[in-house]
């Protein structure tokens, strides 16, 4: 079955750190695999594990309270730096379907959209409120509705988010860009011939 994203209600894991770069999401030394699977084990590797490979107790993903979270909430400018799509693969493989932040780096945003991870950009105020809600109740359920482009907190506070209509359609129906590009092949060939 094709993967799709439509509407999701879930607990959220908070990571209130700004400028999280893709080297933190997945350090370079774990980029040596030649398949797309298994990167979730090393998601936030150096924040999750000590150098002797034991778990760091104070890192949010090691806190069993947040075990059911399928939404990651992170500080502004998430996903900066390296273009490694492995970052999106790691987030997806770990089990997150949505990342909420007040700002995303461009390449990371594209990579996420290509891997059924929905980047939800909200205002700084809404992000601060989301962190406060999670802090008050770790079990707080957040709803992300792609069709209506809306995020709703448990108290009913809601905000809308933007997404390119084409990308939205891809996520909701499980399409990918290559199918679309292949359908344009005659036009692409004509374009190249005219160069």
């Amino acid at each position: 079955m094709k993967e799709t994203i439509t509407k999701l209600t879930s607990q959220a894991a908070p990571l209130p750190i700004e400028n999280i770069d893709t080297d933190q999401i997945i350090p370079a030394r774990f980029l040596k695999a030649t398949t797309r699977e298994g990167f979730g084990d090393n998601l936030f590797r150096d924040w999750r594990y000590n150098s002797d490979n034991t778990l760091k107790a104070d890192f949010v993903l090691n806190d069993p309270t947040y075990k059911a979270a399928r939404i990651l909430v992170a500080g502004k400018n998430f996903g900066m730096g390296s273009s490694r799509e492995h970052a999106a693969w790691a987030i997806h493989d770990y089990g997150f379907s949505v990342v909420i932040s007040s700002f995303f780096a461009d390449i990371f945003r594209n990579n996420s959209l290509n891997n059924f991870v929905l980047p939800v950009q909200v205002s700084d105020e809404f992000l601060a409120k989301t962190f406060a809600v999670i802090e008050a109740d770790a079990q707080a359920q957040i709803t992300v509705d792609l069709e209506n482009q809306q995020v709703t907190l448990p108290d009913g506070t809601a905000t809308s988010f933007e997404i390119n209509p084409y990308k939205k359609n891809c996520l909701m129906n499980g399409y990918d860009d290559i199918d679309y590009l292949i359908s344009l092949r005659p036009e692409i060939e004509a374009f190249q011939a005219a160069l």
Partner: protein, 468 residues
């Protein structure tokens, strides 16, 4: 053609749009696709799954750079996973018919160093690579940007990419740079001014006297780091400096064809009165030799300045600032001048071209490496290494107690053996000071090659202006 004045970016982008539809991102034709071992294997798997061929092998160039050892490159790669990834690239290139500049090939090197030096990178092109520093190629007046592996697969399969058109930013740097202040300082200064996210969503064109006065290699350093302020890419309109650099390059047009091309390339500039979404202006005279103190490239200061105090940081950003300083083992308000250094890395696609090595060699000539400091000089390509040897730079380095290694990305990202140990301070000419970038726990201070050379011979952070 409309008479509306256009930016250089618009001219190149618009002339490469195969299809533009309301509600869809643009479908953009790609002139040149560079690939390397880390971000391509899953893309080739995608082609295999669909039974697809590479759309145009003549528009695709491959090299191995991220994983490769910088010592004993003639031996099999020791680290099993790195070896496997490089072997995968070999198999994929062979199966799909793509030219590969493999280890020991005279053209092998960091992908963003070899494209320009071979003349594959040319003005007016669209260029992509599964690597964020693809922005480097923009120095020749083209639209070049980094992409993810799914997009690598798109380009391999269809020579096109689906992409929303970014907004446009003009960054003008007027005036002249002080002696000892380089292209690297200029770009670190701009990033420090506008932050590591200051240009996210934008494609940047650099202009102004200080940019025009840079050599091609300096321009590449500037465009290279555009991504470190979040920009999709950076570009500089081509001029005589560009054409002179291109003349006679291996894959550049030759003879009369070259002259004809130059006439075409001269049209590649932003029209008078063209609109940018944002225009920023800086004065080159304000720029000092720069150094970073934190864990993103926007956390930079002049070498003679102090790390910001807590009061100088907005309250909401203080936790991230503090976390960053804890990692770096630094205090708010501290001065870095005179700080003892453990490692010096001169390399990467930002600063490992021949001019960088010449600059370093000229400064260290007759001097000695400081006690207890480890210095790695890693050329950007085999051609750079060859040229360095031809000019006797290797002897200068040897004389000072340094070693000129084999080409590759090396300690820029520590995917090979060249890693800075935890807690150690590395002065580095690369582009990223992220936590763990040069090895788990490594503490990176980004600088120009000249400031790195100062650290190499004094063992400390110093002000090059006092030494030249």
């Amino acid at each position: 053609m409309s008479n509306t004045p256009q930016t250089l970016f618009d001219k190149i982008w618009d002339s490469h749009v195969v299809k533009s539809q309301e509600g869809y991102p643009d479908v953009v034709f790609i002139d040149r696709h560079f690939i390397h071992e880390v971000t391509s294997p899953q893309a080739f798997d995608g082609l295999r799954k669909r039974g697809a061929k590479v759309f145009n092998i003549n528009r695709t160039t491959a090299t191995a750079d991220h994983n490769v050892p910088t010592k004993d490159q003639h031996l099999p790669i020791r680290e099993a996973l790195s070896r496997h990834q490089v072997e995968k690239l070999r198999e994929n290139c062979k199966e799909f018919g793509i030219e590969l500049y493999d280890l020991l090939h005279p053209f092998q090197g960091i992908v963003h160093v070899i494209g320009p030096e071979l003349g594959i990178t040319q003005p007016g092109m669209t260029i992509v690579c599964g690597d964020s520093h693809t922005s480097t190629h923009g120095a020749f007046g083209n639209v070049a940007f980094g992409i993810g592996t799914s997009e690598v697969e798109q380009v391999l399969t269809t020579q096109c990419i689906i992409q929303s058109k970014p907004k446009k930013m003009l960054i003008e740097v007027n005036g002249t740079l002080e002696k000892g202040v380089t292209a690297k300082d200029l770009i670190l200064y701009i990033i420090a001014k506008i932050s590591a996210a200051g240009a996210t969503g934008y494609f940047v064109e650099y202009a102004g006297e200080a940019i025009r006065n840079l050599t091609m290699e300096g321009r590449m350093t500037v465009c290279n780091m555009s991504i470190e302020m979040g920009a999709r890419g950076g570009m500089i309109a081509p001029d005589e400096v560009t054409f002179e650099y291109m003349r006679g390059r291996r894959f550049a047009p030759q003879g009369e064809e070259f002259d004809r091309k130059v006439e075409e390339w001269k049209q590649l500039k932003t029209d008078e009165g063209a609109q940018f979404d944002v225009v920023l202006t800086f004065d080159a005279a304000d720029i000092k030799p720069m150094i970073t103190y934190g864990t993103n490239p926007g956390m930079g200061i002049g070498v003679t300045d102090h790390v910001p105090t807590l009061e100088e940081i907005p309250a909401t950003e203080q936790p991230s600032f503090q976390k960053s300083l804890n990692y770096m083992g630094l205090q708010p308000g501290e001065s870095l001048l005179g700080k003892a250094i453990d490692y010096v890395f001169i390399g990467s696609c930002t600063n490992a071209r021949i001019e960088d090595l010449r600059e370093v060699a000229e400064f260290v000539k007759g001097k000695q490496k400081a006690d207890g400091i480890e210095v790695w000089i890693v050329p950007g390509s085999n051609q750079v290494a060859e040229q360095a040897r031809a000019e006797g730079l290797d002897k200068v380095f040897e004389g000072a107690g340094f070693e000129l290694r084999g080409p590759g990305c090396s300690a820029c990202l520590g995917m090979n053996e060249d890693k800075v140990p935890a807690g150690k301070y590395a002065v580095s000419t690369s582009n990223r000071n992220f936590e763990g970038r040069q090895g788990p726990g490594a503490r990176t201070l980004l600088v120009s090659p000249l400031t790195a050379a100062v650290a190499a011979v004094t063992g400390k952070v110093g002000d090059i202006r006092e030494l030249v």
